[in-house]
């Protein structure tokens, strides 16, 4: 984890800065500490909580919603329209993660159901595992999560993927492709172009 627990611009992950991922609201440097203490924290007193606490959207910037603590979150309209990030998260999850983690975050025999995992994992936990990987190889199981830290198809959309899985964990959206979604924000397209170059 040490290799990614800083925000110094390394060539391999420098493209992350294009989407503002390494800003102050993304406490990458604190990921290790958060992970260590997370299980000791009592559950928050909100009606709905997940690994990052209350997912209620509080602030929005260019169609990207954040909760009161600044973690990325979803915004579902009354008619079921999902925000762009949740939708983009669905498509990118399905292309990059589904093969192992199963459709709709439901897991497979290969890897755990992330729709459940996000009930426990905070945003920074999630970010750390995605970027640096995880292994649990024994005689009875071979779970290997690759480090995606230099995979632009994942890291350029990491907040979108998190937002989607958070929505699944909180049962805010069901299985399958969201029927209606907000349009792609122009800043998203620009950041995407810069990040995917």
């Amino acid at each position: 984890m040490a290799g990614i627990a800083t925000c110094v611009p390394m060539p391999a992950i420098s493209f992350l800065h294009h989407l503002g991922i390494c800003d102050l609201k993304s406490p990458l440097h604190a990921a290790a500490f958060v992970a260590a203490f997370l299980t000791l924290s009592p559950p928050l007193a909100h009606a709905l909580t997940d690994g990052s606490g209350d997912p209620a959207p509080v602030t929005s910037e260019d169609g990207k919603w954040a909760d009161k603590d600044g973690n990325p979150t979803f915004k579902i309209e009354k008619d079921g329209t999902v925000d762009w990030y949740t939708y983009a998260g669905f498509t990118r999850y399905s292309a990059e993660c589904l093969r192992c983690h199963g459709p709709d975050g439901l897991g497979s025999t290969y890897a755990p159901p992330l729709a459940d995992s996000m009930k426990r994992l905070s945003y920074s936990d999630f970010y750390a595992v995605v970027a640096s990987g995880k292994q649990a190889v024994s005689s009875s199981q071979e779970l290997v999560m690759p480090a995606e830290g230099n995979n632009r198809n994942v890291m350029c959309y990491i907040d979108a993927i998190y937002t989607y899985l958070r929505a699944r964990a909180d049962d805010a959206i069901g299985r399958g492709r969201p029927d209606k979604h907000a349009p792609k924000p122009e800043p998203f397209s620009k950041a995407e172009d810069a990040c995917m170059e």
């Binding site: 192992c100 459709p103 025999t109 290997v144 690759p146 198809n153």
Partner: protein, 609 residues
């Protein structure tokens, strides 16, 4: 070298068990050892049973009349949880069983109910696990010259002493750091062992290579895409649909250097015609799954190759799905059969493609004779153009509504049949010369497909599309077991199955056809009518291939169970149901209500028979 072997039983048992093998092993590489051995139906000396990939056994002690009395003779746990594809070999008194990663190989003593003679378990870097696109499967080992050949997940090709399991030689064929992996079973012809590579979801450039049986030295390597020299083609002499392919046939169909990360991987089954001295195989999808990012026909992905078994030079090629837009890999087996067509005996190659068309070709020339849908649900193309004078001769007539290229990036193209799983995947079909029919395990699944921009990083997935899959409209079953007449391109009979049939079929002279199901049933059906004659539920879902052998005068049927593979991953959580409001809920309930992981071999026989 990563690997070890051990003897678990007393040396006396080992010696007695290998008496028969000793005789067979005298033959030298370069002889027709395997051609002789494949004619003895007591043995199964290659993963395709015979070179022609017919998966037909002339054993006839188990018949349509008595198969109902079949019982389990013995079982064997492989100790590995992942998906178990392929089938064991039997040579004399020894059975060779392979497993998914870590790619253990066991030699089992048939004189002692499968006691372990030796075990080979390579040590491989577990980082290869997540670069295997669709579970850590392996489709089996091959035999020749007293050696067992295995292409491991990490692309190590290893030759083991068949008597002891000790490593004779070991070489590396590709780089798993770039996403290249080994899943296919090798094939051996004369003094050469052929292997291919997996990695179409990682932009791995596909190849088929020949190595020396004796010492593992590479003799030639033919790529699926790139310059003519790399392809091992002769622009004037290599033919496609009756015409020379011309210079730079592949380079012309890619933009820039995209062919270098363009896939066309070679992870299916290989077949061989000793009279023509040709080997046949198919190539996989072009990378990425987003067609907009790779303009052109992307040759020679999605192609049937016929190559000289000695030199490797291509004699003919036929691209089934130019510029793939749906992940319809062309790797499924090429079944070689001689049948009467229009009063004339033809040397046929029959291929059930992922794209839903069953192709009958003349395997001498590559002439296209029949191309028909073997599942009526197939809708992405209306037909294959069979008019030799047409500029689109041999090409599928794509329906714009289902074209992900036409509909474009970030657009969800709905209702495409078949799904990316194909109407059939790697699970091989069988052919019975007695009935003249092909027995085809199939998927009956459709999809929505949304392509989008993707960036290439070596060793990272290079997919670029989101899919959702569901049963074909008008029903709630996701598979069929189909009997097919390749001369006419028509279905003779079809048995619906609740889930995709992901198990290789076996036809026998006893008039019985066998296959397994994802719930775990081994089924026996009447070869003429499809009537079910027997079923037994094995410990886990079956994605392995059924095989039969004879030992001490008795016929046995064996199959690996152990659910997994792409079917296992896709189905473990249940397919999404786009039409749930239309009823039939529960027809496609989650597979994990029926079975769980775990590799085991189940061996059947008729008591006293």
């Amino acid at each position: 070298m990563a690997g070890f072997s051990m003897r678990l039983l007393a040396a006396s048992i080992v010696v007695s068990s290998f008496l028969l093998l000793q005789g067979a092993a005298i033959a030298q590489p370069g002889s027709d050892e395997l051609l002789k051995m494949e004619k003895d139906p007591a043995n199964v000396v290659m993963p395709t049973i015979t070179y022609d990939n017919q998966r037909y056994s002339s054993l006839n002690k188990i018949t349509a009349e008595n198969v109902g009395k079949l019982q389990v003779a013995w079982t064997f746990s492989t100790g590995v949880l992942r998906g178990h594809e392929g089938a064991p070999l039997v040579i004399g008194d020894v059975m060779y069983v392979h497993t998914p990663f870590p790619n253990t190989v066991f030699a089992l003593d048939l004189n002692h109910d499968g006691a372990i003679l030796w075990k080979y378990e390579p040590r491989q870097d577990p980082n290869v696990i997540p670069v295997m696109c669709c579970d850590t499967v392996n489709r089996g080992v091959a035999y020749a010259d007293g050696k067992i050949f295995l292409h491991q997940a990490d692309t190590t090709l290893v030759a083991l002493d068949a008597k002891t399991g000790k490593v004779v030689w070991s070489i590396k064929t590709d780089d798993p750091g770039k996403g290249a992996t080994g899943t296919a079973a090798p094939m051996i012809v004369k003094d050469k062992v052929y292997v291919g590579v997996s990695g179409g979801e990682f932009g791995v450039r596909g190849w088929l290579a020949a190595y020396s049986v004796k010492d593992g030295k590479q003799l030639w390597r033919a790529y699926s895409a790139g310059p003519d020299a790399d392809l091992m083609v002769d622009p004037e002499k290599t033919m496609s649909l009756g015409k020379p392919i011309g210079a730079n046939s592949s380079l012309k169909t890619w933009e820039g250097d995209q062919w270098k990360i363009g896939g066309g991987d070679t992870w299916g089954w290989y077949s061989y015609d000793p009279q023509l001295n040709l080997i046949y195989y198919g190539t996989g999808n072009p990378s990425t799954w987003n067609p907009k990012q790779r303009p052109g026909d992307n040759k020679w992905s999605m192609t049937i190759f016929a190559r000289d078994a000695d030199t490797g030079m291509a004699k003919w090629v036929y691209q089934m799905t130019p510029h793939d837009e749906w992940d319809y890999d062309g790797v499924n087996e090429m079944i070689l059969a001689d049948q009467q067509m229009n009063g004339q005996m033809r040397h046929l190659l029959v291929h059930f493609d992922r794209n839903g068309f069953a192709y009958t070709l003349d395997r001498v020339t590559g002439e296209l004779l029949v191309a028909e849908k073997y599942d009526p649900a197939v809708n992405w193309a209306t037909k294959v153009d069979m008019d030799k004078n047409s500029p689109t001769y041999g090409r599928p007539q794509v329906v714009a509504q289902y074209s992900t290229q036409h509909n474009g990036e970030d657009t969800d193209t709905k209702g495409v049949c078949p799904a990316a799983l194909g109407t059939k995947d790697e699970q091989p079909a069988a052919f019975s010369p007695d009935t003249g029919l092909f027995y085809v395990p199939t998927n009956h699944v459709c999809m929505d497909y949304e392509p989008f921009r993707v960036s290439y990083t070596a060793g990272q997935p290079y997919v670029g599309a989101t899919l959702s899959m569901y049963p074909a409209p008008g029903g709630n079953t996701m598979g069929n077991f189909v009997a097919w007449d390749a001369r006419t391109g028509k279905i003779a009979w079809s048995n619906p199955e609740q889930f995709s049939v992901w198990s290789g079929a076996l036809a026998t002279k006893g008039g019985v056809v066998f296959y397994g199901t994802l719930e775990g049933y081994l089924k026996a059906v009447d070869a003429k009518t499809g009537k079910e004659l027997y079923r037994f539920k094995t410990p886990s879902g079956i994605i392995g291939n059924v095989m039969t052998y004879e030992h001490a005068g008795k016929q046995y049927v064996a199959v690996l169970s152990g659910v997994g593979g792409w079917a296992g991953i896709g189905l473990a959580a249940g397919l999404t149901d786009a039409h749930a409001g239309l009823g039939a809920v529960g027809g496609y309930a989650a597979l994990n209500n029926y079975t769980a992981l775990g590799g085991s071999l189940t061996v059947f026989a008729i008591p006293g028979g």
